[in-house]
Amino acid sequence: MCLGIPGQIVEITDAGRKLGVANVSGVRRPVNLACVIGEGSVEDLIGTWVLIHVGFAMSKIDEDQAAETLRILTELGEAQQELAAMRDGDRALGDAQW
């Protein structure tokens, strides 16, 4: 349901009709910007990353939140490695005592 894909707004083609062009991995597609304009002007959207669904920019992508999600996962990995290292350390200690 609801296929959506991140893209970057690269051009405003019709400010009145809130139309622009998004770039998705080198593919350019006209998109409607009505849902992501908010308070600012249409031109401010150039360079913004948005989620595109059926030719509409539906939501601005929150860069900090994206980084945060990845950070949580990275930390989880680091914690695992520390645990593993501790376990190895314990084992090494154990070996020495033997």
């Binding site: 609801c2 894909i5 059926v54 509409f56 539906m58 939501s59 989880l76």
Partner: protein, 377 residues
């Protein structure tokens, strides 16, 4: 691709899988049946199969593939309406590709095209509107399909048609809403779901608050989830963590896209153009109150249902078809008596076999967990 590749990272997946294993062991210590997590949305079903996620998880974790594939839950009568509309000589019938193969009682849209109907696949309702602009002597009907995610796009297209005074464009509105349907599933007696992955793109429109009742009244965790495979694993982990800690809350894994209160402009356009229907019929689930929307009186001029006096016959699903049970997570696709016999992607009996987001087609095509053969060595 930015915001895509990072969320397909196998290293982080390995980390999550370890955490998931530990949590599963902890949860399973006190129970004797598997943990069932329903992914409400067909997009998640697709990711789960495309990336082979179910098989990566501990065997005690099962997915129930929910009703969130708009193509799959479309009743036969509505497909017949589409065919009837498309067959009108003045009509250019535009649709997303997803709907082309859904069987009606006599024809699919693909079949109607073969019989001479002018059916065109488009990527966006805006492209349908452009067709109307370019063909002033024809009637362009757009088949509006989908959940809250897609509603703003069709609502805004109607508003655009109004602003430009384009009279030969209309919407055949079949939009449905997800909340009443989740509620119907939670209320069904054979419900065995422990937690939910919430539909990420629906939520970017409606926000996360509408799910509160699921935690409050039904004590089930729901995590609004993104669609990349890492998002799915991350969300499964979040559901399990809630279960292990005895919590039932609404959490948001997809915060990079989903704001808590949804998207104001989208909701405003939807409210302006659409109103709730008293009920809407779903394939496999029957009629569900307030689960669909229709175009308000003020925009009747762009409503294909009014413009062409669409009949909307109610046509029962084939008797032996068990789509409803599959949708509710009560049985697995292969437990349906028709699966792989009279119901295959070539000759679908139920809609779950039509779209690759449908659980039955996904199992059939991608072979599910059990059907994926192990290399012998």
């Amino acid at each position: 691709m930015k915001y895509v590749d990072e969320f397909r990272d196998p290293v982080r997946a390995g980390v999550l899988l370890k955490e998931i294993e530990a949590l599963t062991a902890q949860i399973m210590a006190g129970r004797d049946r598997p943990v069932v997590i329903m992914e409400v949305c067909g997009g998640h079903t697709h990711s789960i199969f495309r990336y082979g996620i179910e098989k990566m998880l501990p065997p005690e974790i099962e997915f129930a593939h929910g009703p969130g594939c708009p193509v799959c839950v479309l009743p036969m009568g509505r497909v017949d309406d589409c065919v009837e509309l498309a067959m009108k000589p003045e009509v250019i019938f535009t649709t997303f590709g997803d709907a082309m193969r859904v069987p009606g009682s006599r024809l699919s849209l693909l079949g109607a095209k073969a019989e001479g109907a002018d059916v065109r696949m488009v990527y966006s309702p805006l492209d349908a509107l452009a067709l109307a602009r370019a063909n002033p002597d024809r009637e362009v009907v757009f088949f509006g399909l989908g959940f809250e995610t897609t509603m703003p796009s069709t609502a805004l297209t109607i508003l655009q048609a109004q602003a430009e005074g384009i009279g030969n464009f209309s919407l055949f509105c079949n939009h449905i809403t997800i909340i009443p349907t989740i509620k119907a599933i939670l209320d069904s007696p054979d419900m065995g779901i422990d937690g939910f992955l919430g539909p990420g793109h629906v939520s970017m429109v409606i926000g996360t608050d509408p799910y509160d009742f699921i935690a409050r009244d039904y004590h089930r965790p729901l995590v609004v989830a993104g669609f990349e495979p890492l998002d799915v694993l991350h969300s499964v982990w979040m559901v399990l963590r809630q279960m292990a800690e005895g919590r039932a809350e609404i959490e948001n894994q997809y915060a990079r896209i989903v704001p808590r209160y949804g998207n104001e402009a989208s909701l405003a356009a939807v409210t302006e153009v659409f109103e709730l229907r008293e009920f809407f019929e779903w394939r496999g689930l029957g009629s569900i109150d307030h689960s669909g929307v229709q175009i308000r009186e003020a925009y009747a001029a762009w409503d294909a249902e009014r413009k062409f006096a669409v009949a909307s016959p109610s046509i029962p699903d084939p008797k032996a078809c068990q789509c409803g049970e599959v949708l509710k997570g009560a049985i697995k696709p292969w437990q349906c008596k028709l699966f792989g016999r009279s119901c295959t992607p070539e000759t679908p009996m139920g809609a779950l076999m039509v779209s690759s987001e449908g659980a039955c087609a996904a199992y059939y095509q991608y072979g599910g967990i059990d059907a994926v053969p192990e290399p012998a060595q």
